[in-house]
Amino acid sequence: MKIKTFGRHGKEGFKNLGRNGWMTFASISAVTVTLLLVGVCLALLLNLNAFGDQLESDVEISAFIDITAKPEQQDELKSKIENISEVESATYQSKEDGLDQLIDNLGDEGEVFESLRDENPLSDAFLVKTKDPQDVNKVAQEIEQLENVQNVEFAEDTVNKLFKVLEIARNVGLALVIGLLFTAMFLISNTIKLTIVARSHEIEIMKLVGATNWFIRWPFLIEGILIGILGALIPIGILIYGYYYLIDLIANRFPTFIIDLLPVTPFVYQLSGLLVVLGVIIGTWGSLTSMRKFLKV
């Protein structure tokens, strides 16, 4: 296609937007609302995902060592644990370190445990990580059978419940997003149908004088894409500002918030890019649908 021709198609595409002003406005609004919800859902989902990953990698088994175990017995235990095929690593943690970490984790409230320094109730332990978080249960049981293991702890229920919640949230979010995308696409397709009807006379003449089918289609395709892109602008603005504000709020007001949100950059730019791409896709898709139905070329 010649550049001049492309310029013509672009101009015609813009003209089409103005031709059905209100319908264009309606479908841009629909895309705006859709992409805003999609954006919020995506921001939530991606953060949940990252949180889930973080949790998964954080799942550790604490294998507490019998107080009576001698150093060589401890070494033996360590190599036995490491020999379990699903185990990635086993790190020794003395009871002093354990207490330090406990106090650290609890923040201000942890200070009450400072008084325990002298008669530490904890035991020395091996912190065991599995290669796959799913194997935690199985590995914990195996370790429990080993000699010189006092007991085994891991956040079994909490972790399992969290995974379940995460999964439901992911699926609901995804279903919502897909439904919204379809709605927006449908509205775009209707808007373009109106343009096609409004220009049917012109299209008829174009066909008669031998315009190629793609020459006729391009302006409608561009119209759809423009609606998609224009509809993505406001959601992008809101999301960038909103996310920035949220991160700022958490950093200043709730510094101990347990979930680490994804950092603003590059996250918001990736999200914005994704929204533009989604806008272009539903725009293209919407115009292709209406062309197939109403543009007999």
Partner: protein
């Protein structure tokens, strides 16, 4: 140039429009297509620029089998055929110049050659001085001349006209016939479907009569042969 062999056309709703037509039209001919309403004239015309595809049979135009042509080759065929309608089909918001230039714009002609060519045909149809007018500001005959200018602006070798004088008073109609005759004299094949008895009987040319989807008459210097 134009050859139809055993053409049949049945529409999806069961109407049999064309029931076995064989016809040959040579380059540079001027041919009237006559016949009562609903006889199949329009279908006959529409098949030539592939607005309709025959149910069976072969249509050869400029050496190409139009019936078997792939969709993507249709635009190329239509650049070799100009079409003029009774209702002009001009774009009301474009000027005379723009309406004619539109035909070249959509086939991606350069601006310079478009300008040259549009002014040529506008002077041929005698509307050079009205190039900036909108269609509404012209008389019916002038509007039809604009639509003829648009049909011939890319130099087609066939001009199909479907009732080009149908909406015009007799005097204006004669002006259009003069113009079509001029175009024909430059070597363009002109095919004209018409109900205008006076024109056919006065401006004598080959007459093909279609009735009931069949060619009932084909005479070199024929007459209209129907009562209007």
């Amino acid at each position: 140039m134009i050859e139809m062999k055993d053409i049949w056309k049945t529409y999806n709703n069961g109407i049999k429009a064309i029931n076995g037509i064989d016809i040959k039209i040579d380059k540079g001919e001027f041919v009237y297509i006559v016949g009562p309403s609903g006889a199949g004239k329009s279908t006959f015309m529409r098949m030539m620029y592939r607005e309709e595809v025959p149910t069976s049979g072969t249509i050869i135009i400029n050496g190409k089998d139009v019936g078997k042509m792939k969709n993507k080759n249709v635009p190329k065929l239509r650049r070799e055929i100009g079409v003029v309608f009774q209702d002009f089909k001009l774009l009301p918001k474009l000027t005379v110049y723009e309406n004619v230039a539109f035909a070249l714009e959509v086939i991606e002609e350069s601006k310079a050659s478009t300008r040259k060519r549009v002014m040529e045909v506008l002077s041929l149809v005698n509307l050079k001085n009205k190039a900036r007018f909108l269609p509404d500001e012209l008389s019916g005959g002038e509007q039809q001349r604009v639509s003829i200018a648009r049909a011939i602006v890319n130099n087609p070798n066939i001009l199909l006209t479907d009732e080009p004088t149908g909406n015009l008073d007799p005097e204006t109609a004669w002006g259009i016939m003069d113009l079509l005759d001029q175009i024909n004299n430059r070597g363009t094949t002109v095919i004209m479907a018409t109900h205008n008895k006076d024109i056919v009987n006065t401006f004598r040319k080959r007459v093909i009569a279609i009735d009931g989807g069949l060619v009932t008459r084909d005479e070199a210097r024929g007459e209209y042969g129907y009562e209007n």
